[in-house]
């Protein structure tokens, strides 16, 4: 599975108003207009489902960028 592309896809699903050009691996949560608690939950839900992994509380709370999410997924696969 192409993890990078899957993550980009998940971000485009959770943030549908964001254009592909706006995607940035290092863009932080605070710089997203709609990355609130619910968006965070849905990011985790989609990631767990697509990669068939289960993220613990520490991992879940540490994710604040696409890059962090990528590293987290890689540590599970």
């Amino acid at each position: 599975m192409d993890i990078e592309n899957e993550i980009k896809k998940i971000f485009s699903e959770v943030f549908p108003t964001m254009s592909p050009q706006e995607f940035d691996w290092n863009k932080k949560q605070k710089n997203y207009e709609n990355w609130d608690s619910f968006a965070h939950l849905h990011l985790l839900t989609l990631v767990e489902e697509k990669f068939n992994i289960s993220l613990n509380v520490d991992e879940s709370t540490s994710i604040d960028s696409a890059q962090k999410l990528l590293e987290c997924i890689r540590s599970h696969t």
Binding site: I10, E13, V14, P16, N34, D36, S37, F38, A39, L41, H42, T45, L46, E49, K50
Partner: protein
Amino acid sequence: MNIILDFFDNSVHKFPNKTAIVTKERTCTYRELAKLSDSTTSLLSKYPQKSVISIIMENSIDSVGVYLGTLRSGCTAHLISKNASENSMHEQLTSADPALIIGPKLIIDKIETSVTKTDFSNIPNATCENKRKIESSDIAYLIYTSGTTSKPKGSTVSHSNVVFTTRNIVDVLGYTETDNDLLPLPLSHSFGLGCIHTSFYVGSTLILHQNTMNPLEIFESIKEHRVTTFAAVPSTLTKLLNEYPDKMKQYFANIRLVITNSTTIPQETVTSFQQILKKGKLATYYGLTEASRSTFMIFDSEGKETSVGLPAPNVQIKLVDENGRETNDGEIWIKGPNVIKHYWHNETFDSSIIDGWLRTGDLGYLDGEGYLYLKGRVDDTINIAGEKVNPLEVERVVKLLSDVEDAVVIGTKHETFGYVVKLFVKKITNSSITKSDIVTHCIKHLERYKVPVYIEFIDDFPRTEYGKIKRFMLQ
């Protein structure tokens, strides 16, 4: 007309030799049905008036005869579905405390009780000369309801409730003695029972099916008996449309009325029936056992496909908010001659009837023209971090996915938000839809907090004997 038997006797008098009921096994005329019911009245003459007689109802001529005979004896007919679970049967019998149980041998043999039991086929032929005086305020039947949300509660429906409601059904939906009414609904439920009352009121012919398990039998019956009206729950209508589109066009073209009930019907189903019923109409109603047929909706124009209609004649409906104020969007309250006076021996349930107003526990809203729309149940509302989520709204969005056969949403506890949305999905056969497909779809169509956080695929939902999903069992 004051009691149920007044209109039944009227039809017996007017149409003695006309076929009253047709089943797969046999038919009977109005006169024969009256005679059959007389045998039960005779049997029950040894029991005091107003005794409770529990009847395990199946869709048969014998069941109908026993029901009518029980009414004529002045006893209360406690109607139980033959598909009731052992637990439900036990709870109902404990609460109803019947003097006698009547039903099919196969079922009553399995009931462990000290109460006397009688098999339908063991009721001796007899005539009852000693007619009892029955008042319109007497309880005609007792049906236990609300199996979807809690333990069963007994609704005590009086003769006057039934006479009023039946007259409304006939007036609004135009039933006449020329109708042939196809009925595959359980007679232990208010919808099915209301249909037999309607047939007997006008003196039409009832074509009684056991259920809707075999749709081909429905099509055969429509042709063989020149059916003019058909009653079924919305899910049956949708299923027939999806699985037999060509047969529906062929067999339903001459039906004058398809009547369904109590839940919002998918808009596509309404539109399809509007096209198929060339000479007829699709109609629905909203009601509860304790307030039968409180609204009627005839789908004869565009734009109100998701409504359950206007209040029935002489029935009042108001919507009340959390603070007890009248509003256009809130809990549905009903008042009228169709509303029961009290529940069966239960003061807690009785507290939901205030000055004749029944608090239904259903949520709805009224449009500018007074049409009622259903929004779910008061106690199903999910509070997510202070935001109120109506499960029906989420379910409707999920059901837009063609791979979803059915969906149910509940609230599940969450450390941060108090509650979040949990979704249960039954997929269609051979579907490859994934949880992420559903989440993605929901993100596009719902506000963020309404999107399901947890999704579970299940083979089927826990249901009541009438097919309603038991939400509380998914908690």
